[in-house]
């Protein structure tokens, strides 16, 4: 725990963390100071003046809270009449040229301007001159749509492009009420984190073309999750909704604060990876390309198991640790050779050292931890020796071209447990639908050796089993998540103090514990 200091807010003594500015320090104990331009990741700018607070007996008596470090004994005034008047006047000023087109604005419902208008004063407009007209629906590139009229020129987006991505595509041009955010002519946003400006924008000036008009935000149900797009394992909020007569669909991923992993941001590719959870899913089990009830397919599986002398099992590097131990136990029971070969998931040179990693799989560290062989030689030898391959959602088309794959699996029967109805599912003799990553609970180890858990967010109409449950149905001795988690403790002694649902939200850093070096 960091050092704490005591200060007074509206005459009430509160204990806050030292070394922070007033907004963060007082905000942490639940007292909100309104602010538009300040963002913890971008630092204080002090241009919006919304966070002006009074300091009793202080010099100067009025300070912007974002620029003022919390000090012991400070007497902060938030509810004095002159502070309220400032907040009300700033709101009035911001709204002079605001188009108030909330009915068609995607930000409505999570808009700071809307919230502060309702909280701080509800000023009536006193303007008698026409509003300044600016450009609307500007295409800034990378799927960012900008509306200059809604903008409050807080400059968060500009600072993000300068300080975080270091690309500097955006700038504020002109002064006073002609000031507007714009790109340089012919040079649109061009970085892999551009959609973060949509989250950063406190109002509806920056909106996402992908999310545009898809849903009103108050319909969305928010659930925490982990992005499975790469080995970084960025923390996300899965925002999904089941519309009447429809399936439960994800509408967007947004980054969730975790200073140990991704901070406040995530990459655009990961943000748009929600589409894979919705689209192209395998809904029904298939036997020789015929749709059959799952019981029939499992009966066929049992026959195949009886018939085959040797079996090979392939795991996806995206599986959770629980699924991996369940499948490993199944492999031991069937005396099958287990592989985690997934070279195709690695895109050499794609990572950027910030939030994008070369490895496009979420849990390769888990395969290593469980001592599962990931080499190509081992996998190919196993396939050639056996007549039956059980593939747990490993997208082999990433590792092999189609003709290579056909040649490799020529004499092999393939049982494919898959979330998606892709070319591999068409080729497979038996295809069994399984849950995608937003639909089950599990744990992952990311590229920095941080173990994180996540819970199922989406509940689909057809409710496919997750790989752990399927492995249990196929004969794995580990029947449920509790048993799988207990098995995990053999590999990770640090988990002995935790249950599956009590792992800290920010994750367990395995580098800190001696257990990191313990492998099977």
């Amino acid at each position: 725990m960091a050092d704490t200091i005591n200060l007074f807010v509206n005459g009430v003594e509160v204990e806050v963390e030292a070394g922070k500015n007033l907004i963060d320090a007082i905000g942490a104990v639940g007292i909100e100071i309104p602010h538009l331009c300040y963002h913890p990741a971008l630092g204080a700018d002090g241009n919006c003046r919304m966070c002006l607070v009074g300091i009793e007996d202080g010099r100067p008596p009025l300070v912007p809270a974002c620029k003022t470090p919390a000090q012991a004994g400070m007497k902060v005034l938030l509810d004095a009449a002159h502070i309220k008047k400032i907040q009300r006047d700033v709101m009035e000023l911001e709204l002079i040229n605001h188009p108030t087109d909330c009915p068609i604005c995607d930000q409505a419902g999570e808009c700071k301007l809307q919230d502060y208008y309702m909280t701080y004063g509800r000023p009536e407009s006193r303007m008698t001159v026409p509003q300044v007209q600016k450009s609307k629906k500007l295409d800034f590139g990378c799927g960012v749509v900008h509306d200059q009229e809604r903008c409050v020129t807080c400059g968060r987006c500009v600072r993000f492009c300068r300080e975080i991505t270091k690309t500097g595509e955006l700038g504020i041009i002109n002064r006073t009420d002609a000031a507007r955010v714009n790109i340089f002519p012919g040079r649109p946003l061009n970085n892999r984190y551009a959609l973060n400006v949509v989250d950063l924008c406190p109002v509806g000036a920056m909106t996402s073309r992908d999310f545009r008009f898809k849903q009103r935000v108050w319909f969305l149900k928010k659930a925490p999750g982990i992005c499975h797009g790469c080995a970084k394992g960025c923390n996300i909020t899965i925002e999904h909704n089941r519309e009447k007569y429809q399936d439960d669909l994800i509408y967007r991923f947004r980054p969730r604060l975790n200073l140990q992993v991704n901070g406040y941001f995530m990459c655009d590719a990961g943000r748009l990876s929600y589409r894979q959870e919705n689209e192209g899913r395998l809904l029904e089990a298939r036997l020789n390309s015929q749709i059959r009830p799952l019981e029939d397919v499992l009966a066929a599986y049992n026959q195949e198991i009886e018939r085959a002398e040797k079996i090979a099992i392939l795991l996806s590097p995206n599986c959770s640790l629980e699924q991996m131990v369940a499948v490993k136990a199944l492999a031991t029971k069937l005396q099958a050779s287990l592989s985690g070969f997934s070279a195709g998931y690695i895109q050499q040179g794609d990572g950027d050292g910030f939030l994008i990693e070369d490895d496009k799989s979420a849990n390769r560290a888990g395969l290593t931890l469980l001592g599962i062989d990931c080499t190509q030689e081992h996998f190919e030898k196993a396939v050639q020796e056996t007549q039956l391959l059980i593939n747990f959602n490993n997208d082999l088309s990433r590792s092999y071209a189609e003709h290579e794959l056909k040649k490799l699996l020529k004499d092999t029967k393939v049982i494919f447990a898959t979330s998606h109805d892709d070319s591999l599912a068409t080729m497979a003799d038996i295809a069994i639908p399984v849950a995608a990553s937003s639909e089950y609970a599990g744990s992952l180890i990311n590229c920095n050796n941080i173990l994180q858990t996540f819970t199922g967010a989406v509940s689909k109409n057809h409710k496919p089993a997750d790989i752990g449950e399927l492995a249990a149905k196929l004969g794995s001795p580990l029947q449920n998540r509790a048993e799988q988690f207990a098995e995990l403790r053999i590999y990770l002694s640090v988990l002995k103090d935790f249950e599956a649902d009590t792992v800290p939200a920010e994750g367990l850093n395995l580098n800190d514990s001696e257990a990191a070096n313990v492998t099977a």
Binding site: D101, C102, P103, I104, A108, K136, K137, R212, F213, K214, R216, W218, F219, E243, K244, Y245
Partner: protein
């Protein structure tokens, strides 16, 4: 506290009433009296000759819905979802899309009202910030023989005219 007790006289206890047939004929006399009077002259009938005579619908009556249009015939609705959000019966299903006629940016591409689920509470009209949905068609009877045709779509909602003049509607307190 003692309860207030009121003793009621039991009807039908007298000898005449207990004979039963006399009371039957008295009742029949009343019934046939009405029957003959209405048969000879039905002007004084207490019920309306529906459907030959339609009821008079006041302006504030909440009838079947319609979507209003601008003077040039384009839809006023901007798909803000206020009506869907407020609908307690959850009978409005909207899908929003890009608007390209220059009026605003957003418009509904699908706007369905399921009349079988609608409870005609009028909250959608109250919630609409643009006076785009009204219940002033004067239509109170919606009949059909299959469920699907009770789901009104965007063209049907736009095609129905209002039953009242603009002044009368505004005067009606809307």
């Amino acid at each position: 506290m003692s309860a207030k007790v009121k003793t009621m006289d039991r009807k039908g206890a007298s000898f005449q009433e207990r004979l039963y047939l006399i009371e039957i004929f008295k009742g029949m006399a009343t019934t046939f009296g009405h029957f003959l009077r209405n048969l000879l002259d039905n002007k004084k009938l207490y019920v309306r000759h529906y459907p030959e005579v339609q009821p008079e619908i006041p302006v504030r009556w909440r009838g079947r819905h319609r979507l209003t249009t601008h003077a040039d015939g384009t839809v006023k609705c901007v798909a803000c979802f206020m009506c869907q959000t407020n609908c307690p019966a959850n009978c409005i299903i909207i899908e929003a899309g890009e608007r390209l006629d220059g009026k605003t940016e957003k418009m509904p591409v699908k706007f369905n009202i399921d009349l079988l689920e609608c409870i005609y509470c009028g909250y959608c009209v109250e919630a609409c910030p643009l006076d785009a949905i009204r219940m002033d068609t004067g239509i109170f009877s919606v009949t059909d023989n299959n469920r699907e045709s009770f789901v009104l779509s965007l063209p049907e909602l736009l095609a129905t005219p209002g039953a009242f003049s603009e002044e009368d509607y505004k005067k009606g307190g809307a």
